[in-house]
């Protein structure tokens, strides 16, 4: 998978506001769009001032011609500044970066379950689009705390993506965790591959389900990133490869790993 260490300045060509806290920006970035794969990400400069200092990582949420989309949740200073940007504003973006989901390895015409928690849905939409091109059968499990955390549900419905959803407060869909919903539903139509993105607790649970049911799972991890391209060694998590456990850089070796490679507790 090609990761490109090049800074692009792309204009914002569309802005969508999804509820109070979620935003979608379309950016003109032909080079990134051409090369990007689901699960890869971009590093976005939310300010040209020294505050906030670092770029922020965002998954590529979609691709339309020479544009890429990012979909993000406002959680702190950087995402808050980003949410104030307007159509026409230029944005500095670095990417595509990292290794995404392994589409190539025989996922064609498979049954793939995508599990997304909250903003973890961002890369899964792009993934669903690409899987659909491969004639795979895709089901999305989309969970959040309450209905306002699963804003894209209406969009998925409209685009006829099979989506099952859960909320912890029961305000929409299944009441409980998205992993509980998945466990309940998986037997009716067992997938041959799971792809998931969300908070660590959720991903850990997905790992357990994957192991127990012998279904391979690809998980997209998050970590605080200083650079996004392998230079700072700041983003490491413990990864087991060929039985050696090591701190590995999420940005370079990931962000997507096989579930069995991730060492959760130590």
């Amino acid at each position: 998978m090609l990761s490109m260490l090049k800074n692009h300045t792309g204009k914002i060509t569309r802005k969508e506001i999804w509820g109070d806290d979620y935003f979608l920006l379309s950016l003109e970035a032909p080079d990134i769009s051409r090369e990007s794969q689901p699960g890869q990400f971009v590093m976005v400069r939310t300010s040209t001032d020294p505050y906030p200092l670092l770029r922020r990582p965002f998954s590529i949420h979609g691709r339309n011609g020479s544009h890429i989309d990012i979909f993000f949740q406002k959680t702190g200073i950087g995402t808050s500044l980003l949410s104030q940007k307007q159509k026409g504003d230029p944005l500095e973006i670095l990417g595509p970066l990292g290794n995404g989901f392994l589409l190539e390895d025989g996922t064609e015409s498979k049954k793939v379950s995508l599990i997304g928690g909250g903003r973890g849905i961002a890369p899964l939409y792009f993934l669903a689009q690409e899987l659909n091109k491969n004639q795979s059968k895709v089901r999305i499990f989309y969970g959040g705390r309450s209905s306002k955390d699963i804003p894209l549900l209406s969009k998925f419905k409209k685009e006829n993506i099979e989506t099952l959803c859960s909320t912890e407060d029961g305000s929409t869909g299944f009441q409980g965790l998205v992993t509980e919903l998945f466990e309940q539903e998986m037997n009716s139509e067992p997938p041959s591959l799971i792809c998931a993105c969300g908070p660590d607790g959720m991903l850990k649970k997905v790992s357990q389900i994957s192991e127990k049911n012998h279904i391979p799972a690809e998980l997209s991890l998050e970590s605080i990133m200083g650079c996004g391209f392998g230079a700072c060694w700041g983003c490491v998590k413990k990864i087991k490869k060929e039985n050696i456990k090591q701190w590995q850089k999420i940005c370079e070796e990931g962000p997507v790993f096989w579930a069995h490679e991730i060492v959760w507790d130590e």
């Binding site: 605080i224 700072c232 700041g234 490491v236 701190w247």
Partner: protein, 305 residues
């Protein structure tokens, strides 16, 4: 055409901008983003004799205009470095500087000895100032004798020029600068990061796995610039300044304070080609201000009026 070259005595740089250790990998990682030969030089990430894993995550915390890191010098060790990386660094038209670390004086000397007489290597930078390794962030550069002895032992172990990298976590930077000079250092570079910490108020946990880490970035620039100014006035050997440099103007301020070259650290994370932008901005600054040679800026602080 502005003459941007600078002369450190033991080393001529085609411009004063060097990428700082630990923020530029082994240089190669950046070759997609820039032509390494356009740099004054680059310092590779800290190298111990043996391979090391580094500290547990989280390793980074962003603060107001700053970044705390507790990376803890993970790395491949000197053997793997000289077999796998060094050959790829041959033939570069830029200064390649090796950042040397050690658990004790002898390890610094072993690394220096092991890599000596490699003509790809322009100089060593002795990292006696990393706050991320020992408990409580203590390092040799916080003590004049320790600084003197470490530098001296390394100088006796190699013929490669030695730049000693100083810590800002000291009462009197001039004293340490002098010790390094007395130990035989060919130049000084400063500053390394400031020992710092951050706390998550809600979880009541330190934001870094290692509790404390080193602060870098624009936040530290005014303190670092002061220390460079003081160090320059304390010693005769050349001083390389760093700390929070993001723009050509920042770099020029360090030159005016007396630095003969500068290093750029954290800025590389924000823009992988930050060093090149800074070189371009230094050129533009000289142009705008009718300065023909960058060396004419060095140590020209006007303190009489």
């Amino acid at each position: 055409m502005i003459d941007v070259s600078v002369d450190l005595g033991f080393l001529k740089l085609h411009n004063p901008v060097i990428a700082a250790s630990g923020t530029f990998g082994y240089g190669l990682e950046f070759s997609q983003a820039l032509d390494l030969n356009r740099l004054g030089g680059f310092v590779v990430k800290g190298l111990y004799f043996s391979p090391r894993q580094g500290n547990p995550p989280p390793r980074l915390a962003e603060t107001s205009c700053g970044l705390i890191n507790s990376i803890g010098l993970p790395g491949i060790g000197v053997k793997q470095f000289s077999h796998e990386i060094l050959p790829k660094l041959t033939g570069l038209q830029t200064a390649v500087i090796i950042n040397i670390c050690g658990e004790n004086r002898e390890e610094y000397a072993s690394v220096a000895d092991y890599l000596d007489k490699h003509e790809e290597i322009s100089a060593y930078e002795l990292n006696i100032s990393c706050p991320n390794v020992k408990k409580g962030g203590i390092c040799p550069a916080q003590n004049p004798e320790d600084t003197y002895e470490t530098v001296k032992l390394v100088k006796n172990s190699c013929s490669t020029p030695v730049i000693t990298k100083l810590s800002p976590n000291v009462t009197d930077i001039s004293e340490i600068a002098l010790s390094a000079q007395e130990g035989g250092s060919d130049a000084l570079s400063l500053v390394n990061t400031f020992l710092a910490m951050d706390i998550d108020a809600v979880t009541r946990k330190p934001k870094l796995g290692n509790i404390m880490g080193g602060l870098s970035g624009p936040a530290i620039k005014p303190i670092a610039l002061r220390m460079v100014y003081q160090a320059v006035r304390a010693v005769k050997i050349p001083v390389i300044g760093m700390g929070g440099i993001q723009t050509g103007r920042d770099a020029v301020e360090y030159l005016i304070a007396g630095a003969r070259a500068v290093q750029v650290g954290t800025a590389n994370f924000i823009s992988p080609d930050a060093t090149l932008q800074i070189i371009d901005e230094i050129n533009a600054f000289c142009e705008d201000n009718h300065i023909k040679k960058v060396e004419d800026l060095i140590r020209t602080l006007d303190i009489d009026s």
